[in-house]
Chain length 159, copies 4
DNA sequence: TTTT
DNA sequence: TTTT
């Protein structure tokens, strides 16, 4: 009710193959790391410098998760639109930590395959595979597509 | 097969009260103009300059349309996320024209009320009104919310 | 002074090779058309449907224009961030028309090459070509990079 | 060589007054926390639920920092466009931590005041204050606006 | 036609 | 710690 916007837009390359897990209620969760990099000329030295940023992407949306699982692999380029979410967790030593993730959930977010050369591994897709964006994001066009347990999905995740 | 993105993000003020119409199939369409403005200092004259840009926003999404109809009025500030769509039309003289609009449809887009002072006219809102973003956009959480006629909705619009 | 935002984000493919022209004051202007497409399943027929949207992109920023001129070609995929601008023009018959464009100017906007396989024509780029985004957009890091005539650049354009 | 995009768009309210500090080289750094919130109806219970997300915003851009320092206060609403950056730090106990921030630096990012009711404290602004977006972001229109030390600015920050 |  |  706040009148707020929380949006992240990334175009980058996967650092790992997508990892798939399921909640107790059966919902699929797909996650991976995504690299973006920035290059610029240092003003003083004149040298070319580069910074790579790693983002953790987590997909709760079933359709987008399916697309990620089927078509994304380490090294692939993808457009991700999601929201920032920071969660708290405690390590074995009892230390508290915070991790910020880019989340595509069932309400919002999008995943678009940017590479044209998908399918290198023979997992197909072909011309039918098509654009993931349309079928991911917020679509929810098939009734009841997400599992019971719904809204507290996040609490079930054992990262 | 596209791997494309078509996204517009606007924060601006309505130039008119939202206009509501319905397709033959009963779907609601809400539209209005939105002003954004830019100011800068002219390099040569040093004068302050301003340019106002007018955008035509068209909402096919029922929920976002409801929010717009209920809470938006001329002068209000709103965040709009939609996609660019250009349509062709012919004037009475037979001349062809093209008009580009920012569209929120049932698949994509969002509308967030930015003004806190909504409700000036007493049309309420209250705690129920709430934030439109969550309920608009792509939600479609209530089954079958859009009327038959569906995908060729656009062709029915008599602008 | 309005507190407004006017932003367009596109990922699409060029429909033509970039066209380069110069204002009387010597500034370079690069423009091209960009296609984005959307596919979805029609609810009634169940058929796969597709809509292609064409956008006109105009670059006033010298750096982004340089990158476009050197690396972009018909068919290439690019990420464009710009603002919407609608201009009025009159055809030979005296008819008035409006055209909406996505503009990258010296203040705002960005262009990022998305294709990895740039350089097909042997115009190089190599590993040095690098990311265009950093050097385009709003950088203006080299003093006085844009030509005299500055702020009324737009008025000089003979589209 | 990346062809990547790293962009965050937030509209939210400040949780604190902006904090201002300076690097050894004299550059100003302004930071604050920003809240965005999301509300939705729980599917199971039907109850209204809300999640508030807190973001840490850090501004290295001098102009945007000036605007933030002058016009932003706890509770104000602002549009922020920046990039995600995660930095590592070690607490007193020797424990390593990571913090993700939304950064506006001299190359990229934007800050737009959304509240119309700025100036509550009488710190003015008037017609001069105006919109920050134009003067922040990437402008760098006044030569040499940022202090020596430039590119490794980030390393000097003692958060 | 909006807003500051 | 914000806001509605």
């Amino acid at each position: 009710m706040a009148g707020s916007v929380n949006k992240v837009i990334l175009v980058g390359n996967l650092g790992i193959d997508p990892e798939v897990r399921h909640t107790q209620s059966g919902s699929k969760i797909v996650s991976f790391t995504l690299a973006t990099s920035d290059t610029w000329n240092d003003r003083q030295s004149g040298e070319r410098r580069e910074r790579t940023e790693w983002h953790r992407v987590v997909i709760f949306n079933e359709r987008a998760g399916d697309v990620a699982e089927r078509f994304l692999r380490k090294g692939r380029k993808v457009y991700i639109e999601g929201e920032l979410r920071t969660r708290k967790w405690t390590d074995q030593g009892g230390q508290e930590h915070y991790t910020t993730e880019v989340v595509i959930d069932r309400f919002r977010g999008e995943l678009v395959l940017i590479d044209s050369n998908r399918g290198e591994g023979g997992f197909g897709g072909g011309s039918s595979g098509g654009r993931s964006g349309g079928s991911s994001g917020n679509a929810n066009r098939n009734a009841g597509w997400d599992a019971p347990g719904g809204d507290d999905l996040d609490n079930e995740i054992p990262f």
